[in-house]
């Protein structure tokens, strides 16, 4: 009974983790893609500033981001208040708080490969397309996106894998609530704390294999793309 309970608990954690990764990648595509495009083609003066902001999550300890997010997400803060008004729920310790945190944390992993890919296409290609009579949207969907397939693929894989493996921020912002915000990484941590090495092995081994497969797929199909993480 006890074993069965723990298995389902781990199974739920796996589902939550996958759901988190999928939802996060969806929003990253919406937010990170225009941002990468802007950084690659549009910005000049603001570029270093925006690049710094986007890259910060790479160098900051997760606890620092987690700490500030807790403050912003708290019901007393503006963001937290707005969320309560909109949904009636608290942002902190909620699944959507987790999504928001993951978006911020994985943003550089979406933006950087895509930005590099856009930059490789270059201004001249875009100009060529314009001069042939294709408007900006036409060019974006029929030239830029098809030409940056590899970039999108890399961004998706890396962001997905990275969101799967996140621990620190998820623990601080989500609190590891069973069935709600407890993801695989936290489950493993709990198992180890309780010295349940067997269960930890299953999850950790699963993560190891999954991450290996994901990265191997990336490098196998994307031989020419260098994953650039500054």
């Amino acid at each position: 009974m006890d074993i069965y309970h723990h298995l389902t608990s781990d199974f739920i954690a796996i589902l939550i983790t996958l759901k988190l990764a999928i939802v996060t990648c969806f929003f990253l595509a919406l937010i990170g893609t225009p941002l990468a495009y802007f950084l690659a083609f549009k910005s000049k003066k603001t570029k270093p500033f925006i690049e710094t902001i986007v890259t910060l999550p790479l160098v900051l300890p997760p606890t620092v981001i987690g700490f500030y997010l807790i403050i912003f997400f708290s019901p007393e803060a503006v963001l937290g208040k707005i969320f309560i008004i909109l949904t009636g729920e608290q942002l902190i310790f909620s699944f959507y708080g987790l999504v928001l945190a993951s978006i911020i944390y994985s943003l550089p992993f979406w933006v950087q490969p895509l930005q590099a890919s856009f930059e490789k296409i270059g201004r001249d290609t875009i100009r060529t397309s314009y001069s042939l009579g294709a408007g900006p949207l036409d060019t974006f969907f029929n030239v830029t996106i098809p030409l940056s397939k590899r970039g999108f693929f890399t961004s998706l894989i890396i962001s997905f894998a990275h969101t799967l493996g996140e621990f620190g921020i998820v623990l601080m912002v989500g609190g590891g609530i069973h069935g709600k915000t407890k993801v695989i990484a936290i489950s493993i941590y709990d198992h180890v704390e309780q010295l349940s090495f067997g269960k930890a092995h299953i999850l950790a081994g699963g993560m190891l294999i999954l991450s290996f497969i994901i990265l191997f797929t990336l490098f196998y199909f994307n031989k020419r793309t260098v994953v650039r993480v500054k």
């Binding site: 100009r127 001069s131 042939l132 009579g133 294709a134 408007g135 036409d138 060019t139 397939k149």
Partner: protein, 373 residues
């Protein structure tokens, strides 16, 4: 008829651009000048890609500089950039279809330039199904040229299109461009550094240096002017002569041109009988003598009158301008630049207004510089 007038003023990078010109609406106009003189910038401005310059572009009475009304994708030009780009996610044929799909509106007279015509002329048939990714430089260039033309532009802008080609194909493509221009009456603005290309296809030429127009006019006039020589350097100094084909010798593979009653023998068989053919003769390939030589040392002996002598300072050379004698007494005056050592000039006691005999070997006449009219 259409008319393209361009005014650009302002600083871009290190270049201070102050350019104004009314481009002719037929024929091929060459834009010539040193690197960094602003030629490519003019193309970018025409394409609508420059917004930090004071720009006035009028075309067919439309104010193209109104970027809201005429964004880059609504301009009537076909632009081929210096490093031509193909969409590598598409096949060669899909690249051509890309522009056909997007320019149906201005192609009511669809039969005017057909895809098949260009595939034929530019020998693209074997390339059509190939991916645009793995083409050689020359193949790529032909596809890009075809794609640019398929836009049915009202003005074709080509930025050094031949720089990547081998000589043999270059000659073919130049002939194609010249024919295309004549057949479809689409004016071409053409950037090049090659004097051969200028003399072969250029009708008009605009000289530009440090962002300013220095001179402009017909190619045969400008190439003999000092403004052009200043840009090319004295070593490349040359003259363009125009003559009427009076005889083709198919056995010896030479052509005799009639230059207002004087004969000039050139290698090859350019043009048809009675065509006007343009040839380029480098100033340093000319020999001068104050009297007729008893044994003619070259195929060609021309007569002329020295109209100016410039003795260069700190140099061994002098440059002479010679007006060729016109035995037909028409108004057609042809000038020849000659570059000889000052030592030679003084030895032969050549003076201004003297008659001279000019000797040019046919070997040194620019073989690529033929243009039939």
């Amino acid at each position: 008829m259409s008319n393209l007038s361009v005014f650009l003023n302002g600083k871009i990078g290190n270049l201070f651009l102050n350019f104004e010109h009314n481009f002719k609406n037929d024929g091929i106009t060459i834009l010539y000048g040193p690197n960094g003189s602003g030629k490519t910038t003019i193309f970018s401005a025409l394409g609508g890609f420059i917004n930090n310059l004071e720009t006035r572009i009028f075309f067919n009475g439309n104010e193209l500089h109104d970027i809201d009304k005429y964004p880059p994708y609504k301009r009537p030009f076909g632009i081929m950039f210096q490093n031509p780009i193909l969409f590598e996610h598409l096949s060669v044929e899909e690249n051509l279809d890309f522009v056909i799909k997007r320019n149906q509106l201005n192609t009511q007279n669809k039969n005017l330039i057909s895809k098949e015509y260009l595939i034929n002329q530019l020998e693209l048939n074997s390339l059509l199904k190939r991916s645009a990714e793995n083409l050689s430089g020359g193949e790529k260039l032909r596809v890009v040229l075809a794609r640019t033309i398929l836009k049915h532009p009202h003005y074709l802008l080509l930025d050094e299109p031949m720089s990547d080609l081998d000589i043999k194909y270059k000659a073919k493509l130049l002939v194609f461009l010249k024919d295309f221009n004549k057949k479809f009456k689409i004016p071409i603005l053409y950037i090049t550094h090659s004097i051969e290309e200028i003399s072969q296809i250029g009708d008009q030429i605009v000289l530009i240096k440090d962002g300013k127009k220095i001179d402009s006019g017909s190619v045969s006039n400008i190439l003999n002017r000092s403004s052009f020589v200043d840009l090319t350097g004295k070593f490349e100094s040359s003259s363009i002569l125009e003559g009427i084909v009076s005889r083709h010798d198919k056995n010896l593979h030479i052509t005799t041109l009639d230059l207002n009653g004087q004969k000039l023998i050139v290698p090859g068989l350019p043009g048809k009988l009675h065509d006007i053919v343009r040839v380029r003769i480098r100033s340093r390939d000319i020999l001068l003598s104050s009297s007729r030589l008893k044994t003619q040392i070259t195929e060609n002996e021309l007569q002329g009158l020295i109209s100016s002598i410039e003795i260069e300072k700190n140099s061994a050379f002098s440059e002479l301008v010679i007006v060729l004698k016109n035995f037909k007494n028409n108004k057609n005056k042809q000038k020849l630049r000659a570059r000889i050592t000052t030592y030679n000039l003084q030895n032969k006691k050549l003076l201004i207004h003297d008659n001279v005999f000019i000797y040019v070997s046919s070997v040194s006449i620019d073989r690529q510089a033929y243009q039939s009219k």
